[in-house]
């Protein structure tokens, strides 16, 4: 299947060009929230700027939507816009798969505020309906007038990769001609508290993908990325997704131009990454640009697609290299044919998405 369009929203902006700029500009510190004077640590996170989520004409159609749905709608609409494909008159040819780890948890907690503050009978129906995981997919479908299959999935292990697998099956079956596959996760204050309790947060704000530490550091992130996938090569704008492998199933062993590691401190012990790529492969890891997310592989695939389209390779934003691996240290033009995006979960299971020019 081919990538016809990409849209995204993350801490460094909106749209595929903003990812290209971030890849060129390199690492920037995450934002801080909280009050240092209270004696508590400031919460570090790669948050989406509020101004990114205001002002768009698309958002005027979904005024009641929460932050979670807005991020997803912007990314999904931008992916369609980026492709230049119109679905007018063939609305049922488009399917949607939204993958998320934690869903619209900030809205869920707002609903719990209602339950705690008022009687069980006096809660807000609007907040409740937005706390449902598939609210974002519903808004995307409404804005795009998509009448095809629409699915929301939630996973702690490989949510994006599962979405890709199902999209390929839908395309193979002819269930639809195009599938919008994407991820969305947000970072609300309660989730930041949970991350602070469950994860080791990098005090300097730097995720170090090549430490291969058994107790790595994370910096929570948020955002959304969508891909418009198609079976038609003529619609290809970026590259082909040639293979999606889950749970250690074999993938072609020939050495790719680059392996992008999803190591971001979210899955605990990262020591397995050290031997996850064929020997001497050039390694990259761009989580320091967008933060730690179990759905972060979508951003890595977007970076890979950009490299294949532009025939560029981008320097690692954080180049700490205690194991003397072959890291990509320069941003430069390069012949790029084959990129593997690798993620290893907390059970040391590996998932690989292979993108080819």
């Amino acid at each position: 299947m081919y990538i016809a369009g990409i849209g995204l929203v993350f801490a460094r902006g909106r749209g595929i060009d903003s990812l290209g700029e971030a890849l060129c500009d390199g690492w920037k510190p995450p934002s801080e929230q909280g009050c240092a004077c209270s004696g508590k640590k400031l919460n570090l996170a790669y948050r989406v700027e509020q101004e990114v989520l205001t002002g768009s004409a698309v958002l005027r159609k979904i005024r009641r939507a929460d932050r979670f749905s807005k991020m997803a709608v912007l990314a999904a609409c931008d992916a369609c816009g980026d492709s230049g494909i119109s679905f007018t008159g063939r609305e049922s040819s488009l399917g949607i798969i939204v993958a998320t780890t934690f869903g619209p948890h900030a809205t869920t907690f707002r609903f719990l505020d209602d339950v705690l503050d008022y009687n069980d009978a006096d809660v807000s129906p609007t907040i409740f309906s937005h706390s449902v995981h598939n609210a974002a997919a519903s808004y995307i479908a409404s804005v795009l007038d998509c009448r095809g299959p629409t699915l929301t999935i939630t996973q702690f292990a490989f949510p994006f990769q599962h979405g890709l697998l199902l999209a390929r099956a839908w395309l193979d079956e002819g269930r639809c001609d195009h599938v919008l596959v994407g991820t969305v996760d947000e970072c609300g204050t309660a989730m930041e508290y949970i991350c602070g309790s469950k994860l080791r947060i990098a005090e300097d704000g730097k995720i170090r993908p090549f430490d291969f530490s058994s107790s790595p550091s994370a910096v929570p992130g948020e955002g959304s990325v969508f891909f418009l996938l198609t079976r038609k090569e003529s619609h290809k704008k970026y590259c082909r997704i040639s293979e999606v492998s889950l749970g250690g199933e074999s993938i072609a062993q020939d050495r790719p131009n680059i392996c992008i590691f999803g190591a971001d401190g979210m899955a605990g012990d990262e020591s397995t990454y050290r031997h996850a790529a064929p020997p001497y492969t050039t390694l990259a890891g761009y989580a320091p640009l967008f933060g730690s997310m179990m759905t972060g592989d979508g951003f890595h695939c977007a970076a890979a697609a950009l490299m294949l389209e532009k025939q560029m390779r981008y320097a690692n934003p954080v180049q700490d290299n205690p194991h003397d691996m072959n890291l990509c240290t320069m941003t430069e033009e390069a012949h790029m044919e084959d990129i593997h995006c690798i993620r290893i979960d907390c059970l040391h299971e590996k998932a690989v998405v292979r993108l080819k020019r």
């Binding site: 049922s92 069980d120 519903s138 929301t152 939630t154 996973q155 269930r175």
Partner: protein, 408 residues
């Protein structure tokens, strides 16, 4: 021609029964096991359909993870029905787990949040349970199988869509066997939410009835074992039921209300029938979504009449189970398969008075069904519409579609 997928095992637990035998007995007797909420404190007066105390076998009790406990109970029955032993039979195969839910996907532990909000800190037990309770991953981990594990959160159509996704996996060769369906526990958060939406009845629900006053919430799990026909035959199973088609279409209309003209449901039905190579006249009955809300039943009933004709045989089993949300599609697919196997469907519990606005009425007594095909439908928040076509094997243990519209 797409690969045929066989249903080799089914299992279900709900207020209607701890297993299929008990459930069919309740269906036969018209017994509706509803009552006040006992699982959590609430001021809401609505009757609910809770799984009876003691119906989850102690070996499958998982403290604070009732959805998972319900799913494991139904899974055990489904695996036994399929004649599949976990270690001996499943471990050599690629086993996909695809389950729908709503409650298990949300970190909505009220005491955790109260503590965090009031004191700025909270014990992590609830978070740990949540992280361990992702339905598909937890089942995959319990069975120690290899294959994809996907939790579908499509609101009230989650179970049906999970079965549809599993069907796609099997046809695409992603796995050999799929464990598919849905599970959900009764929980205070959706009870408050649905109550606030004004669609919960203070009396027992009356699907498709003129005087229906809304839904009753319930809980349960419905699990199907799906296999490619070749895998099933290789282990000596003569197929008796097939998962013949799945269709899904989005309304693209409103977050909570169905599209008034019902075109989304029509499209889902058309797709499911086309995949099965079937015409509406081939369908012997429909297990409808039938929540007993005004909008759902009016729109769904009209669509069923339009697609299948005025003499359509249909029912809603929610009068026996309540609306089990993410479990509903799984349970209702299980009931549909069981009805095809048994040759009868129960009366639509709660229905008394025909609604002129709908124009058709559900079955009001135990009714024999002889045709080879049945349909189960689901409609959901977000505008999801989904339909499954289940086929009974004809002579010779196979089932032939009359045509195939799928592209290679």
């Amino acid at each position: 021609m797409s690969m045929k997928v066989v249903i080799t095992g089914i299992g279900g637990i709900s207020a209607a029964g701890a297993n299929l035998a008990e459930t069919l007995e309740a269906f036969r007797n018209g017994r509706r096991n509803a009552g006040p909420v006992s699982l959590f404190p609430t001021t809401l007066p609505y009757p609910v359909f809770e799984a009876r105390a003691g119906s989850i076998p102690p070996r499958w009790e998982r403290k604070g993870m009732r959805t998972l406990s319900l799913a494991l109970s139904a899974l055990e029955e489904a695996l036994a029905d399929a004649g599949l032993r976990v270690e001996e039979d499943l471990s050599p195969l690629r086993v996909g787990i695809c389950l729908g839910t709503t409650v298990a996907s949300q970190l909505n532990d009220i005491e955790f949040y109260r503590s965090y909000r009031d004191r700025g800190s909270a014990p992590m037990d609830a978070v740990d349970r949540y992280l361990k309770g992702n339905l598909a991953q937890a089942i995959s981990s319990t069975l120690k199988v290899r294959g994809p594990a996907l939790t579908v959160v499509n609101a009230c159509s989650s179970g049906t869509d999970a079965i549809g996704a599993a069907l796609s996996w099997l046809r695409s060769g992603i796995c050999d066997v799929a464990i598919a369906g849905g599970a959900d526990e009764l929980n205070r958060v959706p009870l408050c939410g649905f109550g606030a939406l004004g669609i919960v009845s203070e009396t027992l629900c009356r699907p498709f009835d003129r005087d229906r006053g809304g839904l009753n919430l319930g809980e349960g799990a419905g699990i199907l074992i799906l296999e490619t026909e070749s895998v099933a035959r290789r282990r000596g199973v003569a197929p008796a039921l097939f998962m013949a088609g799945y269709g899904s279409a989005c309304d693209a209309y409103h977050l909570t209300a169905p599209r008034p003209d019902g075109t989304g449901l029509e499209a889902a039905l058309a797709r499911a029938l086309a995949e099965a190579g079937a015409a509406p006249s081939d369908v012997s009955f429909i297990n409808a979504h039938g929540t007993a809300t005004q909008d759902n039943d009016r729109i769904e009933g009209r669509v069923l009449a339009g697609v299948f004709g005025p003499d359509v045989k249909f029912l809603s089993t929610k009068g026996f189970t309540g609306h089990t949300l993410g479990a509903a599609g799984g349970l209702e697919a299980v009931f549909t398969a069981a009805a095809l196997r048994e040759g009868w469907i129960p009366a639509c519990a709660g229905f008394v008075h025909p609604d002129e606005e709908i124009g058709v009425r559900p079955v009001t007594e135990i009714t024999s069904v002889r045709g080879p095909l049945a349909v189960s439908t689901s409609l959901a928040f977000g505008g999801n519409n989904a339909a499954l076509v289940i086929a009974r094997a004809e002579d010779g243990g196979t089932w032939r579609s009359r045509s195939c519209t799928l592209r290679e």
